[in-house]
């Protein structure tokens, strides 16, 4: 299914009846693209400016005055290194759980018939409609009952095996020919062996898209981490960033004003960098992942 979607984006359906786009179209698209990219460029370039320049002349940027002062100040002020390590840990473990358990369950739903399957699948689909919002308060209380507030398991376990990814993987695996699985069975592979050695390699593009999108979502996740964690040693990157932002808006006047802005932009830039780099490298997988989201509609 993933390959199907790729071909859908790469190969436009209509060609003959469409006129060649004129300069106006390019101008509109170009301006729009500029609007989308400019804030990112502005944030990154400003983060390299001396703090006073950010305030005095927000438009200018010359390489001559580039400095890493804002980054140094930020590293001194907030535990951004700790935030990075925590985020990487959560992305790795939670992402690995999603990428293993969701295809496994998807495989069962796509290729087996078993009593209770429809009921189980119905429950799965119902949970798709459950907004995270309703769970935040009771989940937080559950964490404190378990003594899990400020722990990695609190950050990792809720949502680690999600209904949407299972549904997506079920659709992907349904397209794998049964003959392939039967061939594995003839060769004496176990049921799990068929999954691990036949299904997983065959659906690699789908797994890649799932992995990229999952990693992005976990990296950018904010609501649950900010609720579940309040001590510095377990904060994820996004929570560290928000703490910094609140210090600024809470205390807007004073001589340090420009300095804190510099830190803010440095923090934002450094948080964007990994995911933007990943996006540029793996954009096809990102787009396939985003599109898979619309298939369920």
């Amino acid at each position: 299914m993933t390959s199907l979607m790729t071909s859908r984006t790469e190969k436009p359906g209509r060609s003959l009846s469409q006129p060649r786009p004129g300069p106006l179209q390019y101008l509109v698209l170009g301006l729009l693209a500029l609007v989308f990219v400019y804030p990112i460029w502005w944030a990154v370039s400003s983060s390299l400016k001396p703090p006073t320049d950010i305030v005095r002349d927000p438009l200018s940027f010359s390489l001559g005055s580039a400095t890493l002062d804002n980054y140094r100040a930020m590293f001194d002020d907030v535990p951004i290194g700790t935030g990075f390590v925590n985020t990487v840990l959560v992305v790795a473990v939670k992402g690995a759980m999603t990428m293993f358990f969701c295809p496994l369950a998807g495989y069962a739903f796509a290729k087996y018939r078993f009593p209770g399957k429809n009921l189980l699948f119905g429950v799965l689909m119902l949970t798709l409609m459950l907004p995270t919002l309703v769970l935040v308060i009771p989940l937080l209380l559950e964490m404190s009952q378990l003594g899990w507030v400020n722990t990695y398991q609190a950050l990792i376990l809720p949502g680690s095996i999600d209904a949407f990814s299972i549904f997506w993987m079920r659709q992907t695996i349904a397209a794998v020919p049964d003959e392939l699985l039967d061939a594995g069975r003839v060769d004496g592979a176990s049921e799990f062996g068929i999954f691990a050695r036949i299904v997983m390699p065959v659906i690699r593009p789908g797994i890649a898209a799932l992995g990229v999108l999952t990693a992005m979502n976990i990296y950018n996740d904010f609501v649950w981490p900010v609720v579940a964690v309040n001590d510095e040693s377990h904060q994820t990157l996004q929570v560290v960033l928000s703490t910094l932002a609140q210090n600024v808006t809470g205390n807007r006047v004073g001589a340090d004003f420009a300095t804190v802005w510099g830190e803010l932009l440095a923090a934002g830039s450094i948080a964007m960098l990994p995911v933007l780099a990943l996006f540029v490298l793996l954009q096809r997988h990102f787009i396939n992942g985003i599109l898979a989201g619309s298939v369920k509609g």
Binding site: P12, G13, R14, L16, S17, Q18, P21, L29, A33, V37, P39, I40, I54, D57, C102, Y107, A108, K111, Y112, F114, L120, V123, L130, L133, V134, L135, V136, I137, P138, L140, L141, P158, I161, D178, D182, R185, S190, F195, N220, F222, V227, Q238, L241, S242, A245, Q246, T249, W261, L264, G268, A271, M272, L276, L278, F279, F286, I290, L291, S294, G297
Partner: protein, 311 residues
């Protein structure tokens, strides 16, 4: 075919089978599929179902996070439904919705139509530019917004001044704070809308257009009678997803405005979070159920509205 009788005996194999069963699904049920789906249901029971039941129970109590929890019936619900703050949080979200969703659908569709042209050069580059904001962390961009929309030293007012326009109190005025946050949301997610709509457009077979063109349908007519009905599903999907997102909006006001000025950016999501901060957990639970009900109703309504058109 009759896999049951022809199966050669094998020892300790959870999945014995005929050499070539015609259909996988004819196979006898085994333990394997249950083991494969079990992890999800364990995680869901622990971190989905249990908290959900707990929240429902909590919403009928006056629990403050410590001490006794007294059953107070529907009091939390009636309190919220008669409280000005609750309605103002919904009102704020509704205004945000109006500022965001129509503009995003119309603008996104326009961009998608331009991008769908097969003769367009640099399509990949445009696409990357449009989705780049979608992949950036929201918190990081929210910080950029604080700096860029500052009244005295921000980038936007700097630009305004340079063309002779006066300063605007973007984040300190009850009028402008909502549009400023809506702009952040639009900037962040319109690329997503464009991609979804583009996929919808490109799923439309080309010969449909050629046939229409042969029949003498104008380009305008083709758009209204062919393109729009065919991407309706994508539009419906976007409306539902964005309605859910706008009414639950939390990180934008939390980071940029903390709900101010004067509560003008306290969205449904942020108001709910304020109950947690105040340890007013019973009310908070009731609030989340009311919000969820509303979001469901709105989603159903938008799907219904979009479906009833020419079908």
């Amino acid at each position: 075919m009759t896999s049951g009788t022809l199966t050669p005996p094998r020892k300790e194999r959870a999945a014995p089978d005929a050499p070539r069963p015609a259909r996988r699904s004819r196979r006898k049920p085994f333990l394997a599929p249950y083991l494969f789906v079990a992890p999800f249901y364990v995680v869901f029971a622990a971190f989905g179902l249990y908290p959900l039941v707990f929240a429902l129970q909590l919403s009928f109590t006056d629990w403050k996070g410590a001490g006794e929890a007294n059953f107070i019936g529907l009091e939390n619900y009636t309190y919220l439904l008669t409280s000005e703050e609750f309605w103002s949080s919904l009102g704020n979200s509704a205004v945000m919705w109006l500022l965001i969703v129509p503009l995003q659908i119309v603008g996104g569709l326009a961009a998608a139509v331009l991008l769908a042209n097969a003769k367009l050069r640099l399509r990949g580059m445009f696409r990357v530019a449009f989705i780049a904001p979608f992949v950036t962390p929201l918190v990081a961009m929210a910080q950029v917004w604080i700096v860029a929309f500052d009244t005295d030293y921000g980038l936007v007012n700097h630009l305004f001044n340079s063309v002779g326009l006066p300063d605007v109190d973007w984040l300190q005025s009850t009028v402008w704070a909502k549009p400023t946050l809506a702009l952040l949301f639009l900037w962040k997610t319109t690329g997503f809308a464009i991609i979804i709509l583009l996929a919808g457009l490109q799923a439309v077979p080309g010969d449909v257009y050629e046939a229409a063109a042969l029949d003498g349908a104008s380009r305008k007519r083709q758009f209204w009678s062919l393109t729009l009905p065919l991407v309706r599903r994508s539009i419906a999907f976007l409306v539902v997803v964005q309605t859910l997102a706008v009414f639950q909006m939390f990180a934008e006001p939390f980071v940029v405005t903390q709900g101010g000025p004067y509560g003008s950016t306290t969205t449904g999501g942020l108001y709910l979070y304020n109950h947690i901060l105040a340890s007013d957990l019973g009310t908070g639970a009731a609030n989340s159920f009311l919000l969820v009900l509303l979001v469901f109703a709105l989603s159903l309504l938008s799907v219904r509205l979009l479906r009833s058109r020419d079908e």
